[in-house]
């Protein structure tokens, strides 16, 4: 798929275009290579008016092996993703998927109500909803004039 094109498709430029395409795809490859070695699972954090929502891509987990905890505004998710039991080590032709124990800690930006926590797992995506703690209303402090 062409990523880069000059405005005019002149023949002398086509080789250069191809070369640029190749270079750009090489860059993509590098970035994607990083993606594989990056932390597992990948998480996104959203803010809504009254809550935070964390989503994590953790395909192929049994929910009994999924551990979600919160302490001091720090959310911890951890578990283990096992390789298929029937596959021996030398049976693999290709192994790109993550296997093994994993853990992520996410510091939340604001105080949350630890009772209003809810976690759902669907189609390999974990979604944790955390209610924000009701912030104390601003209080006026009376200023007394000195003597």
């Amino acid at each position: 798929m062409p990523i880069f094109r000059w405005g005019q498709p002149w023949d002398p430029f086509q080789d250069l275009e191809r070369e640029v395409d190749r270079l750009l795809q090489g860059v993509n490859l590098t970035l994607h290579g990083v993606r594989f070695s990056r932390r597992f699972p990948q998480v996104n954090l959203f803010e809504l008016d009254d809550s935070y929502v964390l989503t994590a891509e953790i395909p192929g987990i049994d929910i009994s092996q999924l551990d979600v905890t919160i302490a001091s505004n720090c959310l911890t998710i951890k578990g283990t993703r096992l390789p298929p039991a029937e596959a021996g080590e030398d049976a693999f032709r290709r192994q790109e998927r993550f296997h093994g124990p994993w853990q992520r800690k996410i510091q939340l930006p604001d105080r949350i109500n630890e009772d209003g926590m809810r976690a759902d797992y669907s189609a390999g995506v974990l979604r944790v909803t955390l209610q924000k703690a009701p912030s104390a209303a601003a209080r006026h402090i009376k200023v007394n004039e000195g003597p």
Binding site: M1, L29, V43, N44
Partner: protein, 137 residues
């Protein structure tokens, strides 16, 4: 011996390309899902990570020796949500493989569980070792 191979050359198979716009006009990203392939006595088993894909969003096809998997990702994060931290992008999954004749195309079987696709690719009967009786003459 190769029973299965990536259809795309490696430099393409790991690239992230913008997909054509969908009906709602929003551009969608397309990713190559990570896979495992291992051998069993009966053939090959392929696993692909497709987080966010349910069975309705999965399209698996075998045509002319080519196995293509496409997974459409659904997400229900409200539009009003503000992104605070992003490590992954939402996009669909596409990857295709060339199957050799040693795979019995008729008996390919697939199952999607918790965002992981498992495809069984049984070896064709003729690819299994067969004992040939030798008669004395």
């Amino acid at each position: 011996m190769t029973d299965i191979s990536d259809h795309n050359p490696p430099h393409e198979s790991t690239s992230m390309i913008p997909a054509p716009e969908n009906s709602s006009g929003e551009p969608r990203l397309l990713f190559n899902p990570p896979i495992d392939i291992y051998e069993t006595p009966d053939g090959l088993v392929l696993y692909a990570d497709l987080p966010g894909v349910d069975s309705e969003g999965l399209d698996l096809q075998v045509q002319n020796n080519r196995l293509t998997l496409f997974g459409r990702v659904t997400t229900d994060v409200p539009q009003s949500a503000q992104m605070l931290h992003q490590e992954y992008h939402i996009g669909d999954f596409l990857r295709s493989f060339i199957l050799s004749d040693e795979v019995d195309h008729e008996r390919i079987h697939a199952k999607l569980t918790n965002g992981v696709l498992r495809v069984e690719l049984p070896r064709a009967a003729r690819a299994k070792p067969r004992r040939i009786e030798v008669s004395g003459g």
